[in-house]
């Protein structure tokens, strides 16, 4: 458990305040304080960059020397090349590992490299001042402490000291909790939570208090929040009504398939050739349909819902719902689940947390429409995910994951048919989140490359 969210001005956990203080202190004292993660990372990256430049330069030297020897210009012992080409010098500096001809003298080149590296200083955020945008610092969340009486609660390590509230379009008052002796800085960064994390903290653990922008007085119930988050699973947010969205997003379809490079090339390949020689191009039916009225797969299936319901459930294959099902599944087993965008996956699973060890598994979610409902014509129309992924995609993903030493896990989610209204209601007659989520089933498969030559014994 733990490791929720990402701070807006830091790499992961909120360290901006610490870094600012360290910077100010360093300026005042003239010596460095404790270093945050970003500083260490930047230092290491700089060092690596210089090493690469050095290596590229040495390689170029070697080649130049070899060439000089062969051309008989110099004897074997000398290493300098009398040819100096100023224009190529610049090229050499900017390119890291390529070779070029006509490289200058040893000293000159190193100097010019170092000179060039200064402006490329990585953004040590110490040297910049952020404009205070919306008031965003953290405030103490008292509900966080009150909800669980005794016993330690698994939580984000940092949050214990500087609790942050998950905020969705809300305003929170400033609280400055630092000592007087230290420089009085207002914390300008906030913690960003993904929708799945926020929902998990709110409803499963009950440690998060969420304020909606319009209903300040009433706290949202879990099912309200579920519907709200599901609505925001797509951009623009899925609208119930027929109102036209503010930004009409045209959806291009080729033969009713969503626009995809492979689909376009396939459509062109199979399109019948136009017989009339006066027409010069292939006719491929490409339909551009604006989003009004909404295409059927974006609108929740309302026909099958109980007309008396005041709450309309999202479609069962809603993106947020499926993601949350998988998120909750792995969290409840004890894994730390982080977004996997950086590695091309949906989630990364960590044993104890990102700081302790590398992630071992990368999870990709594959929604499956097995239920008989999805085979009916109306079911097929209402599927959000049309078309299937091909083998090349699977190999790409697998290669990416194995390059970063992770194991790929395909998590198939069996999507139930849209609720007829009975299954999701509890004894009180209201729709219950637990029942909604319990209708899904999850099955995992681990994918690994098998090498013919390596499995011989």
């Amino acid at each position: 458990m733990g490791f929720f969210g990402k701070a807006s001005l830091s790499r992961s956990e909120p360290t901006w305040l610490d870094r600012e203080k360290a910077r100010l202190k360093a300026e005042a004292d003239g010596m460095g304080g404790a270093r945050a993660a970003e500083v260490v990372t930047n230092a290491r990256r700089e060092e690596r960059r210089l090493f690469k430049l050095e290596r590229a330069r040495a390689e170029r030297e070697k080649i130049e020397r070899q060439r000089a020897v062969e051309q008989g210009r110099v004897a074997l012992e000398e290493a300098s090349d009398p040819r100096l080409d100023p224009t190529q010098e610049f090229r050499a500096d900017l390119v890291l590992a390529q070779t070029s001809s006509g490289v200058g003298e040893l000293n000159e080149e190193t100097e010019s490299l170092l000179k060039k590296s200064d402006p490329m200083n990585p953004e040590f955020s110490e040297h910049r001042v952020f404009e205070p945008a919306a008031p965003i610092p953290g405030s103490r969340a008292d509900e966080f402490l009150a909800s669980l009486a005794n016993g330690p609660m698994p939580c984000n390590g940092r949050a214990a000291n500087v609790p942050n509230t998950g905020i969705i379009d809300g305003n929170v008052e400033l609280v400055d909790e630092k000592n007087i002796s230290e420089p009085n800085i207002q914390n300008q960064e906030h913690l960003q939570l993904t929708l799945e994390e926020a929902f998990f903290l709110f409803s499963a653990l009950g440690v998060l208090h969420i304020q909606l922008p319009d209903t300040k007085s009433k706290a949202p119930s879990p099912i309200d929040l579920l519907i709200l988050f599901a609505k925001h699973a797509a951009f623009p947010p899925l609208a119930r009504s027929k109102a036209r969205p503010l930004i009409p997003v045209p959806s291009l379809a080729v033969n009713d398939q969503p626009l995809h490079a492979r689909a376009v090339s396939h459509a062109i390949a199979v399109a019948p050739l136009v017989k009339d020689p006066t027409e010069s191009s292939l006719r491929v039916p490409i339909t551009a349909t604006p989003l009004s009225p909404q295409p059927p797969h974006l609108v929740a299936s309302q026909t099958s819902l109980d007309p008396m319901a005041s709450q309309q459930l999202p479609a069962p294959d809603n993106h947020f719902l499926i993601n949350y099902v998988v998120y909750h599944h792995f969290r409840s087993l004890g894994w730390v689940v982080r977004p996997g965008l950086k590695f091309g996956a949906d989630y990364m699973l960590y044993n104890r947390g990102p700081v302790f060890s590398h992630a071992e598994f990368a999870v990709i979610i594959m929604p499956s429409y097995i239920d008989a409902y999805w085979e009916t014509p109306s079911g097929k129309r209402e599927r959000r995910v049309k078309g299937e992924k091909d083998w090349w995609w699977l190999h790409c993903v697998n290669r990416v994951q194995s390059q970063v030493k992770k194991t790929l896990v395909l998590c198939y989610v069996d999507i139930p048919a849209p609720d007829s209204g009975q299954d999701c209601r509890g004894v009180s007659g209201d729709v219950e989140v637990a029942r909604v989520l319990r209708r899904y089933k999850v099955r995992e498969f681990v994918i690994k490359r098998w090498a013919v030559n390596r499995s011989r014994e």
Binding site: M1, R11, S12, D18, K21, A34, A37, V40, T41, R44, S101, L148, N150, P152, P154, G157, R158, N161, S203, A204, L205, G206, V326, H328, H329, F330, S332, L333, G334, K342, F343, M348, V355, I370, D390, W391, W392, W393, H395, S402, Q403, T407, Y412, D414, A434, L437, Y440, V442, R443, E444, F445, V446, R449, W450, A451, V452, N453, R454, R456, E457
Partner: protein, 418 residues
Amino acid sequence: MADADEDVKPRSGPLPEDVDLSEEIQDFRFLGTATGNDVKIPKRGEKDFEPHETALQSNTLAASRQAMHNALSFQRVHPPKGVALATFHPESNMAYAINPKGSPLFVRMGRTLSKGEDPIGDDGLRGQRMWFLPEEVIYLVERGTIDLRWPVTEDDKDGKGLPVSLQAAYAMFLGEQQGLGGALTFERYSVYSGLKRAGYTVLRAPSFEGSGPPATAECHPPVPQRTWQAGLLSLAWLKHIFHSAEKEDQERSSIGIEPGLYRNYADIYRRLALIQWYDPTHTLAAAASQSPPIDDEIRVTYHVWKPGSSTFKKSDHGPPDFRIAVVDARETTAPSLQQLSNLMATLPYEPPKAEDQLYQKLKHGYKNVILAIVDQGVVSYLRISDAAFGRERLYERAGRGFGGKRGGRGGRGRGRRR
């Protein structure tokens, strides 16, 4: 909690298991230097990425090319005693040879058929007649190990029949014909020959054509021997095909944990368990997933044994080391849950050892198969295993203060001021 993965220094090369040297052309010069038994052939030569316009580089390149040319132009001869004559049998689309000798390949390939199966009938030579399947025939003809002939007619002077060319062999054996040797496609042959060249022993699986025999008992996990609870077992499990949360949680309306006193983390985690997950150790789960057969099923094509396997005998194979399912990349898409679950239902149940580490258990899985994805002759192998994450509950592992660390000093010595 900086993402530790991003700070991994890029390694100097790819992973050992990703390096498949057979996919790259190696430097043939090393063949010349490797004389004698004590010299180890180096794994790979130096790789230059672009021309340097140095004489050294072009000389090296020319030397490597010449070495390759020398190696490939070596003349292959057949020893006179080692010729095996095989005759094509059109009706069954197979070929037979009488007591073929001359190659160690014959130890693991071909089989003699019994009285009832032999298409020619029970004559004196039946016990010595070795029948080869289409893929075996093409492979042997390609290698030059057998001398394949058309059936003998009256016109043949030396009584041997016309030689079958390689082109004719491909034409006859690859195709959609029925009979004992049917359903061999180019994709399947690519996989077969690739594995044979690597040294494996490859035989057809029972589900080579069609769906094969129904799932036997070994495909299901063993039934727990709790006879006194048998009545309870049948009633309770029948309702829950998939593993569900505990019974009392069924009545909970919310997914949240009630505020209260909890003494350990495991209690909290157990209350969080909500989502149903597939449990392969559950007997009835495996049996109840008898979904109707779909159009494009994935089936196990070949049974493969390792080259050094000492337990393999022609008469009694033993269980295969690997099961390969051949898939055409151009005709199919990434597997759906339906296809995978049907495929898994035909596989035997092989759970990981209980004393393994967590990651090994998860990666080993309860059932596994190797998919050979063929894209116009290029084969790529993926091992798919049925992992049950739900069975490895992290919170039940012996605690190292699991979850209790409040972001202590980890990672790369990051200091933190409290």
